[in-house]
């Protein structure tokens, strides 16, 4: 396949709790190609969150190699990590993490505020484009309290897209949503993926994995399974199968 976005080799992460050392990740290796839709699965304690933090450049490995878009993260300082997060990663969280009492467009602009290369006109333009991509072109000036959960998560997705990241990193992005809305969100992810956007989705819900192109299963800090999904379900079709709701 094409370009390698993520390259991980023998990656270890240890935490010291008092006198004890906890091995959260015990030597993991995998890579993600451009255009993939990867779910990282695992129950709690599997090292999933640690993996997510490292993938998101919020944390650094104890040993081993982690490269994102050709940049080795291991020796970067706090500020350099912030720049990587700003330019290469789009975050999506379970609880949306939108700024309260702040309009959708301003929420989406947020990552670009920390990039001094972007002018305020370009910032506004890109934010509008991102909101249109997630189907919220009509709700630019709504604040989170005026939006439904699904719409809030769409704003968060637009925020993750606005900096043209090499990868979107979603953490239980459908965890707070009902089935219908989560299928809607998943179908949006699939749509974005079809446009060539690389997505890494961390979750513990097995049905989410059926919508992705590849699944990595973690257990006790090691990769238990890593398989391609040859029978990708369409979230849009699943959505259509759901019993009709009264509106």
């Amino acid at each position: 396949m094409s370009k390698e976005i993520i390259k991980i080799q023998d990656l270890k992460r240890e935490f010291t709790m008092g006198t004890e050392t906890v091995h959260a990740l015990k030597g993991i290796s995998f890579s993600i190609q451009e255009g993939e839709f990867v779910t990282i699965m695992g129950s709690s304690g599997s090292g999933k969150s640690t993996m997510l933090n490292i993938l998101g450049c919020l944390d650094q490995p104890t040993s081993g190699l982690y490269e994102i878009d050709g940049v080795s993260v291991k020796d970067l300082n706090r500020n350099q990590l912030a720049t990587i997060r700003n330019e290469k990663i789009g975050f999506i969280f379970q609880s949306y993490n939108l700024l309260a009492r702040t309009s959708a467009i301003e929420n989406v602009e947020l990552p670009l505020l920390y990039n001094s290369k972007i002018t305020s006109e370009e910032r506004r333009e890109r934010a509008i484009k991102a909101l249109e991509m997630v189907g919220l072109g009509e709700r630019l000036h709504h604040t989170p309290s005026q939006l439904s959960g699904g719409q809030q998560q769409r704003v968060a997705i637009a925020r993750s897209l606005v900096n043209n990241p090499v990868m979107i990193l979603a953490d239980e992005a459908t965890g707070n949503l009902d089935t219908r809305t989560s299928y809607e969100i998943m179908s949006l992810f699939q749509e974005l993926n079809r446009k060539g956007i690389t997505i890494t989705f961390v979750t513990h819900e097995p049905d989410i994995a059926t919508f992705s192109s590849r699944t990595v299963v973690l257990k006790d800090g090691e990769i238990m399974q890593d398989y391609k999904n040859h029978n990708i379900q369409s979230a849009a079709e699943e959505l259509a199968k759901l019993p009709k709701q009264d509106h």
Partner: protein, 406 residues
């Protein structure tokens, strides 16, 4: 660009928490407003004292009989008879730092013109008096040295006396008035000077040759006072020294003996009054500064709460690429904005209070530019000082912990 963005973020946070921000500012507002008002009152009274005294002649030196009356239980200077005409002549001859000198004898009494009468004071002086007191004439002319020598019964009167004994607007010059039943010919009217800070009417005065007052009104041969003026304001202290030396020699005082007279310059008088009002100002400003300090602590308190409350927001900002310095600047700018906005409101309120004090309480006030500049500087420093620690704390947060904070 970057700072501009941060400024925008900080402004937004302030606008979103209007009530809280206003309450936080209140301490600063009250602090600044009171500092401005207190300083304005202090400056105002100082200035009015200074202008009153310089209107009396800032180079002026006075010699009074009797020792310095600042000690307890002394007789009033006027009762002591240690100052005589020879003292005046000796000083006039020997003191080269003086350019004008006059003996002074004074008495209270009744000014009478026909059926009109008015209680006033008569000052017996020589022609130098006008230049020493920096007073001109409205009309007529000053008496001459010859008229002093011959103890002529001529007088000049102030506007208040004119108003009261010539109520029908007649021209006073050339008329005859009586002071304590001694007839005087009015030869001039003094320029109007108004009230001084101590509320004395400076126009309620009659002046005449000192010889005339000494012989015909008081029947004394000593002087109540000697007034002189130094060559310049800077020479006044040296002139005081010189006069003191001359008088000690003249009075044949031993080294062990105290002066039996008191020499004062206006400068001393100014500093005596100023130091009192300065002390008061310092006291008032100290009290006001404490409220400014409390205002600052209020800011720190709110910034702490704000950082705690917005931990998750900080985590998010870091996740999308905010550096520690960005977070630090955001909170610091927020603190400074609060304190400076508070400062602006405080200055306006202080100026308002000053106008109120001037208009309704009739206290002299004067807003010094430096007090506004200092208030602003203090506000900015307060913001930086009390905003730094909470901002520093925010910037040092671990993004993972901050994101998970509930």
């Amino acid at each position: 660009m970057r700072v501009l963005n941060l400024l925008k973020i900080a402004t937004k946070a302030i606008v979103l928490n209007k009530t809280r921000t206003l309450l936080t500012m209140l301490g600063i507002i009250i602090g600044v407003a009171s500092v401005i008002a207190m300083l304005a009152i202090g400056e105002g009274s100082k200035e009015s004292i200074r202008s009153t005294i310089s209107a009396m002649g800032s180079n002026m030196i006075t010699v009074r009989p009797g020792a310095d009356d600042s000690g307890p239980a002394r007789g009033s200077g006027g009762d002591v008879q240690t100052l005589v005409l020879e003292d005046y002549e000796k000083i006039k001859k020997d003191a080269d730092l003086l350019n004008a000198i006059t003996p002074v004898v004074n008495s209270g009494g009744q000014v009478i013109n026909g059926s009109n009468n008015w209680p006033s004071s008569i000052y017996g002086v020589n022609p130098d008096y006008l230049s020493i007191k920096v007073v001109g004439l409205q009309s007529g002319s000053m008496f001459t040295d010859a008229e002093v020598k011959s103890a002529s019964k001529v007088a000049l009167i102030g506007q208040t006396v004119v108003d009261n004994v010539f109520p029908n607007g007649e021209e006073p010059v050339g008329q005859m008035i009586r002071f304590n039943n001694i007839p005087f010919k009015v030869i001039g009217v003094l320029e109007e000077k108004g009230e001084n800070t101590f509320g004395q009417d400076q126009d309620d005065i009659v002046i005449a040759p000192f010889t005339t007052v000494q012989k015909r009104i008081l029947a004394i041969d000593y002087l109540n006072q000697i007034m002189a003026s130094a060559v310049s304001e800077d020479d006044a202290p040296a002139a005081v020294e010189q006069v003191t030396e001359i008088l000690r020699a003249q009075h044949k005082l031993l080294d062990s003996e105290d002066d039996d007279f008191t020499v004062r310059s206006m400068e001393e008088l100014i500093s005596t009054f100023s130091s009192t009002s300065e002390m008061l100002t310092i006291l008032l400003v100290a009290v006001a500064s404490i409220s400014l300090l409390i205002g600052g602590i209020g800011i720190m308190n709110i910034m702490y709460v704000s950082v705690k409350e917005r931990t998750k927001e900080i985590g998010l900002r870091m996740a999308v690429g905010a550096k520690g310095a960005d977070i630090l600047m955001q909170f610091l700018i927020e603190a400074i904005l609060i304190s400076i906005t508070g400062g602006v409101i405080g200055v306006l309120l202080g100026l308002g209070a000053t106008v109120f004090i001037e208009e309704f309480l009739n206290w002299p006030t004067s807003v010094a530019l430096y007090s506004i500049i200092i208030s602003f500087a203090v506000c900015a420093i307060t913001g930086i000082f009390f905003g730094w620690y909470p901002a520093r704390k925010a910037s040092a947060l671990d993004p993972i912990t901050a994101l998970r904070y509930e």
